[in-house]
Symmetry: C2
Subunit: 448 residues, 2 copies
């Protein structure tokens, strides 16, 4: 009998799940339902597409036709799944009922917009889908002053790009620093200063209070002051889209995501649900840095979860373990990356964190175009385990943050990291001692 | 009583040992004896200095004056240590005797030149010291045809640079591939092809038989054929310089290096020698990839060993563990890197290796200037532990090879690596799934 697999959602988690299921079971009947018009696109690419550096076409990795012809996967776009019946094993879509043997729920996240007035005015945008990006690109041509609400990495990437396009950009952030929560202020301040050097203004400690205007945006009120603008972009993050899991009575975690087993199955009243797998922005993960829950709403995480969920849905066996959630953002000539816990998150989890930090270069001192790099590494004062790291650099942050991620994932202590850490050396690509190692040396000194 | 520390050698190991000893004991009397004229220089930088990309001045990191004024370290250049008396705890230098409390032997390596005729002719060079490099730079101006003997990374870096300077370059190699021993042929062939595309010729499987000429070089004989040239550069590697350890009767290992404890102390008839520490190209290390000895003749290794030896010599406590010896070389637009064992080395150690391999890009597919990257990862068929990796890429090899190095150092299996591996993602710096992870996925498939 042919296995019927239904996937809800067409983001990184959903499409990877469908492909992974196909790889595991060549005969399965696989159908993806998605409310989106474009599928398999890279939301992380939207800032550069707005800038014009990459074409919109290229942001969409594959079309529904590609999946149908190459992989025998049916993708039904612009179609919302109304409900799921996990006893009958059916999904209900636009009045029709479809039977499944396994179901993957990869319904993603919902853009969070603060509950204030004026967010429905013309000139208010979010950064989530390709359509959102195209609308921003088109609308921004006619305006001068833009306010970005949210100084997370997406907000800053968009701020930089719009500033490069000649716009007058102001970033409003309710917290007291840019890239709050995941970056420490000493690592984030240089990014803010860099952007201020490009003419971008920042209003920190200022919750957005209202968007103002008649019909269209004319200003925002933030931090009790009114700021004129013609366009507002909310880059205020996503919340897990748990509509269907809630409807099904699945257990929701402390952070608002669906609680899942290592096989990515949800729970109902504490009991594992069979034949349903959940992946992507809506699940709650276990942290590798600390015994506790975390949300890992990253494209790279979604792809890994989708691969495991799809394999399991097709009768294979894959486990998804605790996460360190490494991230990297490119803002003009700067790269900022992080993994595991920041100081703020460590304190949230009740850990006493100790920091080591080092400045260095990405190439030998004398080699042309060496860029500055700062590495910060955090350890738990009690166990000396590495629990987090952040890197600010002109180049080369990604490989290094993956390296530090593997230390967190393995529960490595700072001292043990130092005994085992070696780095490749060649003047055009590195210093004789990598700054990562210098930072951990500093950390070990501080831990004494 | 002031501790007297003597260091023999002024390379990465010796100068790092001196600095590390100073950091550990602010009052010690520290003297470095070196036969070299320039100290604390970066031999790895010589190819780019020959090219003119970096200044010779900048290759020398610090002068003897710098060490004397800034660190209170006395550096005696162009002075060979004749002998050491480890009972009297003295070194004999140019007829004078100096007392030590601790001694660091960092005498480095000797350039290996094959025992053939003609190697003393005018026009024959080695690539080791700043003086060698300057002589090559000066002599090459007057010649057209250059033969490089040895297709290791230094040989290829120099070959590329001389070819860029407009010279007719031929590389002679006794093995059947470029970068033999440490790189597998499937990873090395693309480098050879790239250099052939630049006009460089290769004669493989051809031991150098003689350098020919009257007074100066006019040809070489290799692979039973004569090849005209006006200049020959030997890049045939270094051998441990064990003159002093041999004189002292220290135990020498199977690979020709001094056997040392984790504290970097040598042995004499199996017994640990007190107050002497050995670091750099002359020691034999333990491999982290396999239970066996290895030589780790890298600048980065020398610096780590020097730091530990210097600390111990000054009364501190530092251990030096097994090595994976990551390396990276930049040859024109290509980066090639490796860590742990190649297929050839694995077989030499009697391991049955299984390989995984993946091709990818260094940025998102659609992002401008994404470079190709190939990652190969080796595991031990018996234990599934990762024992080696190689990367060929247009950029970003260094951070990734350090990442894989940490897996080897921790004894991670391929399967475990996959469960724990996460990568940061941003279109300008990475794919959503890093090629390192794809290669290990392939490896896990092969291991099934």
């Amino acid at each position: 009998m042919v296995r019927k697999i239904i996937v809800i959602g067409s983001g990184a988690a959903g499409m990877t799940a469908a492909s992974s299921a196909r790889k595991t079971d060549p005969d399965a009947e696989i159908t993806v339902f998605t409310k989106d018009a474009d599928i398999a696109y890279s939301p992380c690419a939207i800032p550069w597409a707005i800038e014009g550096k990459i074409a919109w076409d290229s942001v969409v990795m594959h079309t529904p036709e590609h999946y149908s012809e190459r992989k025998g996967i049916k993708v039904v776009t612009e179609t919302r799944v109304d409900s799921v019946d996990d006893s009958a094993k059916t999904v209900s879509v636009a009045g029709k009922t479809y039977k499944y043997d396994s179901l993957v729920i990869a319904a993603g996240g919902k853009v969070f917009i603060p509950p204030i007035s004026g967010t429905n005015l013309e000139g208010v945008f979010v950064v989530r889908t390709v359509r959102d990006g195209k609308r921003i690109q088109s609308y921004v041509k006619e305006v001068e002053k833009v306010v970005i609400c949210g100084a997370g990495v997406i907000g800053l990437e968009v701020a930089f790009v719009l500033s490069e396009l000649g716009k007058d950009v102001t970033v409003v952030e309710m917290m007291d620093q840019v890239i709050p929560r995941i970056a420490d202020s000493d690592m984030a301040v240089p990014i803010q200063e860099y952007l201020e050097g490009k003419g971008i203004k920042f209003i920190l400690n200022a919750p957005m209070q209202s968007v103002n205007g008649f019909g269209k945006v004319s200003s925002v009120t933030a931090g009790n002051e009114e700021h004129e603008c013609e366009m507002v972009i909310f880059a205020t993050g996503v919340r897990a889209n748990v509509d269907i899991p809630k409807q099904l009575g699945f257990d929701i975690g402390q952070l608002g995501g669906v609680i899942v087993s290592p096989s990515l199955q949800p729970y109902k009243d504490g009991r594992l649900v069979r034949d349903i797998f959940v992946a992507g922005d809506l699940i709650q993960c276990e942290s590798a840095a600390v015994a506790g829950p975390t949300m890992s709403q990253l494209g790279s995480s979604a792809a890994r979860q989708g691969a495991a969920a799809g394999k399991n849905a097709a009768g294979g066996k894959a486990l998804y373990g605790p996460v360190s959630s490494p991230w990297v953002s490119v803002i003009g000539e700067k790269e900022i990356a992080g993994t595991g816990l920041s100081l703020g998150l460590a304190s949230w989890y009740g850990l006493d964190a100790v920091c080591g930090k080092a400045d260095g270069l990405t190439r030998a001192r004398y080699y042309p175009e060496a860029k500055r790099i700062t590495v910060k590494v955090l350890a738990d004062a009690a166990t000396h385990r590495i629990i987090g790291a952040q890197i600010l650099a002109g180049e080369g942050a990604t490989g290094r943050i993956n390296w530090l991620t593997s230390a967190i994932m393995s529960g490595t202590t700072a001292e043990d990291f130092l005994v085992r850490a070696e780095n490749a050396y060649c003047p055009p690509t590195s210093m004789v001692k990598d700054t990562v190692i210098s930072a951990v040396e500093d950390l070990c000194e501080k831990l004494k």
